[in-house]
């Protein structure tokens, strides 16, 4: 039995009043003159037995009356024997997250969950108020038959959704219902990663979760092109989770470009050379297992001809050696058809270019004049010395001893790295500007291991990138909101269908690689897929999860038992009316006992 207003139970303490009056009334009662007391005493003596019974009966009636009124005021709800249930407000959360596509014993978990919900809805009556909430937070309301139709049309999501939010929504729905019995139920695969958030419902929760361990699973937990721009050779870095070795296949636009055997769980790098140019989709595949959703993972890559690094003498010996290394490795081209000039600013005469600060402070004027001429919206300011750690970008962690203060004059650009909170590396379309000479006297970046990757990225991904291109693909979840560059005008689906878009658009619910297009050209890519946390099928037990989610949680792995228990709260009917009837009957009985007796004076 539960009470909607349990504080009123304290009023039951008033039952002690008639009890105390009965026990101690000789001490507490008022004294009244009554000359015929001798007859009163005689009456009590002659009718002592019946009077004692009457007094006791009266006390019991009054105690019960007070208790009944107090109990009624507390608005109790208790289970009442019988078939069916009282009208209930019931919200059922159906877990249709991606993990429910895992197959166990030949049946997808989603089918089990959906069948369980179908069984629960089948027991609803027309007087019930029903909602179905799925993992994406979508709410369906209606009669049982309407929700059964909705249920039949419900499919698993392409990602994990947000079950915690769905449960909060469901809790709020029933909280606002006017029916006294407000019930909450959920059918979930109890995936640990989906229920990591600490939430608790405000009412009892009936939880159904398959009472079985998750099926064995191999998964790809990460995939990214390395570097993000291939020229045209490149690699992909993948994360594999597998108990044993597993064959993997890398494809670009459905064309296989690499195969290998992953040794088991751990990182995996696959090198590849592509003939395609521009933005393209990469996909890594594992052999399908019980959970096929994580046997594929997507990435995007820009593929193009590598630029040639043209160094000026003012670039310094470290830059010159690094470019030679990158050229010999094939990262940079020997053929100067797409040159990128590298040198001190005063020595650069055209873009694309990587410009550094001059070694000699006397050249600062010429350097600034070059910046003006090339349209670069930054100027070298005063030379400062000190010791700063570089933050941001591939140069992160390097030390700077000498630098010029960079002064912005307007225009669009990115601050790639900072030194002492001041811009140190800034970049724009077809140029990269460094506020120090790339010399060990000014910074230790040229002598660090990260120098070559940084230089390759600066030359290929920034200086040589086509104007308006995204520097790297965007990673998003299905149905998330995407903010595109201002110049972007359409989105190209994996199947090639181009849809005009505005700056902010909602991504579809399917996984894959979408391409950002600007004036008919692919200028970027958006990789849409579930968070890798969804790949872990580790589960809570049903009881553990129920205890996490509700202080009055009940859990079962039996679908039919769950369907029946969902309405258990509906059998708890309000007892207000019966208690008021009982109180009225007790009052009538009390009035009967104390009824005035009419006698006629002879």
């Amino acid at each position: 039995m539960n009470f909607l207003a349990p504080l009123y139970l304290l009023a039951g303490l008033a039952a002690a009043v008639p009890l105390l009056l009965h026990l101690w009334r000789r001490r507490t009662l008022a004294r009244r003159d009554f000359p015929a007391t001798r007859y009163l005493e005689r009456a009590e003596r002659e009718h002592s037995r019946s009077l004692r019974v009457s007094n006791l009966l009266l006390m019991v009636l009054r105690v019960l009356l007070v208790l009944a009124i107090a109990a009624a005021a507390a608005r109790p709800i208790a289970g009442v024997a019988g078939v069916g249930h009282a009208p209930v407000a019931l919200a059922i959360v159906l877990d249709n997250s991606l993990s429910t596509t895992a197959v166990r014993d030949g049946i997808a978990e989603f089918m089990r969950l959906r069948d369980a919900v179908r069984g629960a809805l089948a027991q609803a009556t027309s007087a019930d108020r029903l909602w179905l909430v799925t993992a994406d937070g979508r709410v369906r309301a209606g009669s049982a038959s309407q929700l059964l139709d909705e249920l039949a049309a419900t499919q698993p999501l392409a990602d994990g959704g947000d079950l915690s939010r769905a449960l909060v929504i469901a809790d709020g729905l029933v909280a606002g219902a006017e029916l006294p019995a407000r019930l909450l139920a959920i059918a979930t695969d109890a995936q640990r990663s989906a229920w990591s958030a600490a939430i608790r419902t405000s009412r009892p929760l009936q939880l159904f979760a398959p009472d079985a361990p998750a099926p064995p699973n191999r998964s790809i937990v990460a995939l990214a092109a390395s570097p993000a721009r291939w020229s045209p050779a490149g690699a992909v870095d993948a994360g594999i989770r597998s108990p044993d070795s597993v064959p993997v296949r890398l494809s670009i636009d459905d064309r296989t470009i690499a195969r290998t055997i992953a040794p088991g769980s751990g990182p995996l790098t696959l090198r590849a050379m592509a003939t395609e140019r521009g933005w393209h989709a990469l996909r890594l595949d594992l052999p399908p297992d019980a959970y096929v959703a994580d046997d594929q993972r997507y990435a995007a890559v820009w593929i193009g001809d590598a630029p040639a690094g043209i160094t000026r003498p003012s670039a310094g010996p470290f830059v010159e050696a690094a470019i030679a290394t990158l050229t010999s490795a094939g990262t940079l081209a020997r053929d100067p058809r797409t040159p990128v000039t590298v040198g001190a600013a005063q020595d650069v005469d055209a873009l694309p270019a990587l410009l550094t600060a001059p070694v000699n402070p006397l050249d600062i004027g010429a350097a600034n004049r070059t910046l003006v001429r090339l349209g670069i919206p930054w100027r070298f300011g005063a030379a400062v010395s000190g010791r700063w750690t570089v933050r941001g970008g591939l140069a992160d962690g390097a030390l700077v001893q000498q630098r010029y203060e960079l002064q912005r004059t307007g225009g669009r650009s990115d601050t790639v790295s900072t030194a002492g909170d001041a811009p140190w590396i800034v970049a724009g379309e077809r140029w990269v500007l460094v506020a120090s000479p790339l010399d060990p006297a000014a910074t230790n970046l040229p002598v660090r291991a990260q120098f070559l990757p940084w230089l390759a990225d600066a030359l290929i991904a920034r200086a040589a990138a086509a104007p308006g291109d995204l520097r790297a693909p965007l990673a998003r979840s299905p149905r998330s909101l995407l903010h595109l560059p201002d110049a972007a005008d359409s989105l190209e689906a994996p199947d090639g269908i181009v849809t005009p878009v505005t700056a902010g658009t909602r991504l579809p619910g399917a996984r894959g690689v979408w391409f950002v297009r600007t004036r008919g050209r692919r200028t970027g890519a958006v990789v849409v897929q579930a968070d890798s946390a969804e790949n872990s099928l580790d589960r809570f037990t049903a009881a553990t999860l129920a205890a996490r989610l509700s202080s009055h949680g009940n859990a079962t792995g039996n679908a039919s038992r769950w369907a029946a228990s969902v309405y258990a709260g509906g059998r708890a009917r309000p007892l207000l009316l019966p208690l008021l009837v009982i109180a009225s009957l007790l009052l009538l009985a009390e009035m009967f006992v104390v009824r005035p007796t009419r006698t006629t004076v002879p």
Binding site: R32, F34, P35, E41
Partner: protein, 303 residues
């Protein structure tokens, strides 16, 4: 001829009537009203000697119409009679402390009611030229006026009824024994008391009076609450005379109390009946006409 529509005093609520005037005046109203109403009685009345004529009023017994006057003067008159003045009556009035009680401010105390009733009885008897005396008792005789029929007796009786004395504990038996010695000649003895005493000793005392030749009428004065226990609530009920207390829930004990009172009244009625005495229970809520009728009905039964 038009009958008077004014309410007759003996039928008015006693408490209301007592508010209207002094005891003497109220008693006169009661007696006047009572006497004027007797003609409606099926009985002939209690007098046997012609006293006077009065105009005929509708409802008067036609046997008392003087037809000769009607024939001569064309005026209807009826003859009225007076009883012979050979009765010596003594009113014994209990003025003990228990008589001071009333259950509601809208009622007279038992003592006040009894005093008005005693005054009315006395006046009624005096008008019949009977000799009337008064003895006020509580635990002893407080006032004693020997029976006389002279015209000053009425004022003397009224004066005695208004005396403040009494209010002590009741010892009705001793007081009755003392009173018996004060009334040596046989006559009518009217005892007005709440009889909150044991039956047997009182009967024994009255038996002696009866043996002395007295006719005895006992008017048992009761407050309605004493009859029905119409009080409410849980309380400790205390006898102001004896200090005896009883804890009771009025609603619970009411029916048992009423049954006990029925039994008590029956005991008094049986014992007094066996003694040859008349007995009537008088409620302080009842108009004074009722006990007066009871009294004279008793006189009819025991002339």
């Amino acid at each position: 001829m038009q009958a008077s529509r004014a309410p007759r005093a003996e039928l008015v609520d006693p408490a209301v009537l007592a508010e209207l005037g002094r005891l003497e005046l109220v008693a006169r109203w009661i007696v006047d009203g009572f006497l004027s109403g007797l003609h409606r009685s099926p009985r002939k009345g209690f007098s046997v000697e012609f006293a006077e004529y009065r105009p005929y009023q509708p409802g008067d017994d036609l046997r008392y119409v003087d037809w000769r006057i009607a024939a001569r003067a064309d005026r209807w008159v009826v003859k009225q009679y007076e009883e012979e003045t050979n009765l010596r009556a003594t009113i014994v009035l209990d003025v003990s402390r228990s008589m001071e009680w009333r259950s509601s401010p809208t009622l007279l105390t038992k003592r006040s009611y009894a005093e008005h009733l005693a005054a009315a009885i006395a006046l009624l008897l005096l008008r019949q030229r009977d000799a009337v005396g008064l003895i006020r008792i509580d635990d002893a005789v407080r006032t004693s006026i020997p029976p006389r029929s002279r015209s000053t007796q009425w004022r003397q009786l009224v004066g005695a009824l208004g005396e403040p004395g009494g209010g002590h504990a009741s010892d009705l038996v001793t007081a009755l024994q003392q009173a018996a010695r004060l009334v040596p000649r046989r006559g009518l003895l009217v005892l007005i008391s709440d009889l909150l005493v044991d039956v047997e000793p009182v009967i024994a005392a009255l038996r002696g009076m009866r043996a002395a030749g007295h006719d005895i009428v006992v008017l048992h004065v009761m407050d309605p609450a004493e009859r029905e226990f119409s009080l409410a609530g849980d309380a400790t009920y205390v006898d102001p005379e004896s200090g005896q207390s009883v804890v009771a829930t009025a609603s619970v004990v009411r029916s048992a109390y009423a049954a006990t009172i029925d039994r008590v009244l029956e005991e008094w009625r049986t014992a007094l009946g066996a003694l040859g005495a008349s007995y009537a229970v008088v409620s302080t809520a009842a108009p004074f006409a009722e006990p007066l009728r009871e009294l004279f009905a008793a006189r009819q039964r025991h002339p």
